[in-house]
């Protein structure tokens, strides 16, 4: 019954999300602005006293990312719901797993964009120094893996909110506890990378592996649960 191959379905659905956003723009700009405001708030809250430690920077990075990411995610699913397009997508002849993967990727793309704002803001306001190209590479890998894990959980629950009441409150309430491992590994890993000694880099490698395991489990769980969770009673 399906006309396009699986990767093509994912790509088409992803392209749809990107195109909607390119035309409307509301989500990207609002979320990016929100991310900058959070970093500013942190800098007002922390600066003035002792210079912030590397640990504080790592924490601010991940908290800013998860707060602004959640805002974008809940808004993007709310938009689908307002126009009832999620129902249309569920009726369309595409694999449910393709739908889930495309949502996962579009959420990840949004959050990667957020990183492109939050990381420079931290360098500027908190004096964060990442170091050489190797450190940047590690940081980008860590951020990507963390975002994938975050998005894997958020896309699953965001799409399944369906007819639930108090959606705006429910989504963060359901997603944050489940992504605590990501935040933990992300913040500890970032700290280890920024610290920059050989031992701490070993530590960072361990957190990268941890994230890889979490991501695989979260994506598998998402693929497995997407269909029953999206079903209506």
């Amino acid at each position: 019954m399906t006309s396009a191959s699986f990767p093509r379905q994912v790509a088409m659905l992803l392209w749809k999300d990107v195109r909607v956003e390119l035309r409307a723009g509301e989500l990207i700009y609002a979320t990016l602005l929100f991310a900058i405001i959070i970093v500013l708030l942190f800098s007002f809250a922390f600066l003035g006293g002792a210079p912030p430690t590397v640990e504080v920077m790592a924490g601010v990075l991940w908290v800013a990312l998860s707060l602004s990411g959640m805002l974008g995610i809940s808004r993007s699913f709310e938009r689908e719901r307002e126009a009832d397009t999620l129902r249309a997508l569920l009726l369309a002849p595409v694999e449910r797993s393709a739908l889930y993967l495309s949502k996962l990727l579009s959420v990840s793309l949004l959050m990667l964009l957020l990183c492109a704002v939050v990381v420079p803001a931290l360098c500027l306001l908190f004096g964060m120094q990442v170091g050489d190209a190797g450190a940047w590479g590690r940081l980008i890998l860590l951020l990507t893996l963390g975002i994938l894990g975050f998005a894997a959980v958020a896309a699953l629950f965001g799409a399944s909110l369906g007819r639930a009441r108090v959606r705006e409150v429910l989504l963060p309430l359901l997603v944050y506890p489940l992504v605590v491992p990501v935040l933990l590994a992300g913040a500890r890993g970032t700290y280890a990378i920024l610290y920059g000694t050989p031992e701490s880099l070993d530590d960072a490698a361990r957190w990268l592996k941890f994230l890889l395991v979490f991501d695989s489990l979260a994506v598998m769980g998402g693929l497995w649960l997407f269909e029953p969770l999206c079903a209506t009673e």
């Binding site: 959980v153 699953l156 629950f157 399944s160 909110l161 369906g162 007819r163 639930a164 009441r165 108090v166 409150v169 429910l170 309430l173 359901l174 506890p177 489940l178 605590v180 933990l184 489990l217 769980g221 649960l225 029953p228 969770l229 079903a231 209506t232 009673e233």
Partner: protein, 238 residues
């Protein structure tokens, strides 16, 4: 929303005598346990406060058991659409929150004396706190989520159940300050009667509460079905 089918028959309730019997067993156990706990030898390094152990370990264990039960029942609900399984899941989730709370309160009381701090971001403590919060979120989704909240909760419960093995192996995989699981099989012989009596009494209590809660949930489902039928028949308004 017309209800054409008959309301679910009041499934054969567990005979009340069995429940009373179990309740009697757990009551006797709970009256006896403090005596045995007082008579158990005092642990030399931690002193009197170590006696929290007899209470803390069974409750933490039951919280994990509740989470696993809720996870399995939620999977049955999600994939087989079994309402009965959903009743079991919500009952187990509530018990996980209750027993988890006991473990999370008794733990810091003990830790304050043994480690000098109330809380330590140790892997076992973190994963246990996480389990507790996930099941609070489960109850929240079910209570306030309206239609669809049950499915969301079930999805959450599956992730929550996946946390249980993490809690169990956390002390062996990471260097933590929390005592290892191997404490129990290598327990001082003098401590064993008190520990196992607490373990059995609390397990029986768990079963009793679970039974009562599932009965309540079934009665509620039956009431709702009858209410809808009465509405369809025009017997009641609204």
């Amino acid at each position: 929303m017309a209800m054409s089918t008959d309301p679910p028959a009041l499934t054969k309730p567990a005979p009340l005598t069995t429940l009373w019997l179990l309740l009697a067993v757990t009551s006797v156990g709970m009256l006896l346990a403090p005596q045995l706990i007082l008579r158990a030898p005092t642990e030399p390094t931690m002193g009197f406060v170590q006696r929290i152990f007899y209470f803390h370990v069974p409750c933490a264990w039951l919280a994990m058991l509740g989470a696993l039960t809720c996870g399995v029942a939620s999977a049955l609900y999600l994939f087989k659409n079994s309402d009965k399984a959903e009743h079991v899941a919500v009952s187990a989730a509530e018990l996980t929150v209750v027993f988890g709370l006991i473990a999370i309160v008794s733990g810091p009381l003990w830790a304050r004396k043994a480690w000098g701090v109330w809380w330590q971001w140790d892997v076992r403590l973190t994963t246990t706190a996480l389990l507790w919060i996930i099941f609070i979120a489960y109850l929240f989704a079910r209570r306030y989520g309206g239609p669809g909240g049950r499915r969301l909760g079930a999805g959450l419960a599956l992730f929550g159940a996946a946390d249980v093995p993490m809690i169990y192996v956390s002390v062996s995989l990471w260097r933590t300050i929390h005592p290892k699981t191997s404490v129990v099989p290598t327990l001082d012989p003098g401590m064993r009667p008190a520990f196992w009596l607490s373990m059995v009494s609390l397990h029986v209590l768990f079963i009793v509460l679970m039974q009562l809660r599932v009965r309540l949930e079934r009665a509620r489902a039956r009431y709702n079905a009858l209410h809808l039928q009465a509405q369809d028949a025009g017997l009641i308004d609204d």
